[in-house]
């Protein structure tokens, strides 16, 4: 059986920081609608690759960082990312990690749930809702997923386990 390990110490954290930088890229109005949550996708990637070794604490930490950088309610993204990490580990263990159809289904379910939770929190706080355009990142997440998954594959290496 093969087990994946990070290519070097801190590789997972490095991808998280890169994802956080992508999240903070200033985009013009029409592109902003399609901006996927790169950190959530990276957490999904590591849940599939490292499986139960992926860390929920890291998800929580990245969530707090995103909360502070984006000015949302403290704990909102922490909640969302921990959910993403947990659900994708749980569901990822039940599927074939390399099957793309299953991956797309997983991305759709996990990112959809993540966005739904964020929407609930925003509605409770009485923040503006963007209408149907709110779900744009869900589609762009699916589109970008294969490329992102491939890009992040640099950061781990398979190792044979007896």
């Amino acid at each position: 059986m093969n087990q994946n390990i990070p290519r070097f110490t801190g590789a997972v954290w490095l991808t998280m920081l890169i994802a956080e930088m992508f999240n903070n890229l200033p985009l013009s109005g029409e592109w902003m609608v399609w901006k996927p949550d790169w950190v959530a996708l990276a957490l999904l990637h590591w849940a599939l690759i490292l499986r139960q070794d992926s860390s929920l604490f890291m998800a929580f930490f990245m969530g707090l960082l995103t909360d502070v950088l984006s000015g949302s309610l403290l704990g909102q993204f922490a909640l969302g990312y921990v959910m993403v990490a947990y659900i994708s580990v749980r569901l990822g263990l039940r599927m074939t990690p390399d099957a793309y159809v299953q991956q797309f289904a997983l991305v759709f379910i996990v990112i959809g749930l993540f966005m739904l939770v964020n929407l609930w929190i925003s509605e409770i706080l009485g923040q503006a809702s963007g209408g149907l355009a709110y779900w744009g990142p869900l589609i762009s997440s699916l589109v970008i997923w294969p490329f992102y998954h491939w890009f992040l594959s640099y950061f781990y290496t398979p190792r044979k386990v007896a």
């Binding site: 956080e20 930088m21 890229l25 200033p26 929920l56 604490f57 984006s70 000015g71 309610l73 403290l74």
Partner: protein
Amino acid sequence: MRLIQSLEAAIYDVDHHATPGLFIRFVVLILIALTLMFVDHRSPSNTLPVRTLFSIIGYPLQLAVDAPFRAYNVTEGFFADQTRVSKQNAELEARLLEIKADYRNMKIIKQQNERLRSLLKISKRPDFSFTMAEILSASDYRGQSVVTINKGTRDGVFVKQVVLADGDKAQSQGGNIFGQVISVTPLSAQVILITDLQHAIPVRNLRTNKRALASGTGKPDVLELKSIVAESDVRDGDIFVSSGLDGLFPADFQVAEVVSNGVNYVPGDPFANIKARPLINFQNTREVLLLWRNAEPEVAPQPADEPSENTNNANPEAKTNSAQVAGAAQ
């Protein structure tokens, strides 16, 4: 039989729940997150240490994201067309001369104004000083309009400090109100824009002096003017300036302009429904001005009229003296 046994073994070997401790960690972290959200919603000041810690951690990230844009600006300036730069330089020098003349004139008027004010025993107009800051990153998370700037407590920035920016139109250039500081870390500060859904600023109509409240809508180019009675006279193109009634924003800085066809009346609604455009292009602004109120020479608090009137009456001699001293110092 053997086959079935080995198959069963294979099936049970793949234990879908073989993630010891994962569920417990999940529940604990979710509970922590929910508690944080609750506390942050109820009393944001309690979560300030966490926010400060994470903004310090995130500051290098924001710098890194900003670096390519900055580098592009620098190199673009470096390789820019020589003739264009020299032309621009000449234009700027001419403009500087004009402004110098204006400034000299303004200084005289200011002294005159101070003298007249002291004669009339009106408290002095507040004096301001400015520092420029650059916008590091902007987030437009669902109607929350917050930007991070590269000045913090090390530069004397404080919470509720007023932030100005250059206007987008020729006649409204100079300091227009941009927003206010909501949190500060040693190296950076977060500024809430006047277009944020939860922000409001008291304003007055420059033409009619009618007061109103300009509140944000979450959209970067729309402000709503509230509590204007339906009968009152508001026209397209009216400029609204800050009224200074909240004691936070200084008076007479431009805020918004009524858009064309922006005034609507709903039958039965005692208030007019007025849409205005902030006089700042928030998407293109990269530099902002931080504003400090200079310490005033008088001891009497500025916004309170009654006590300052009393002290004036009690000791008119000292007041005029101090005002004259202040005038002489300038």
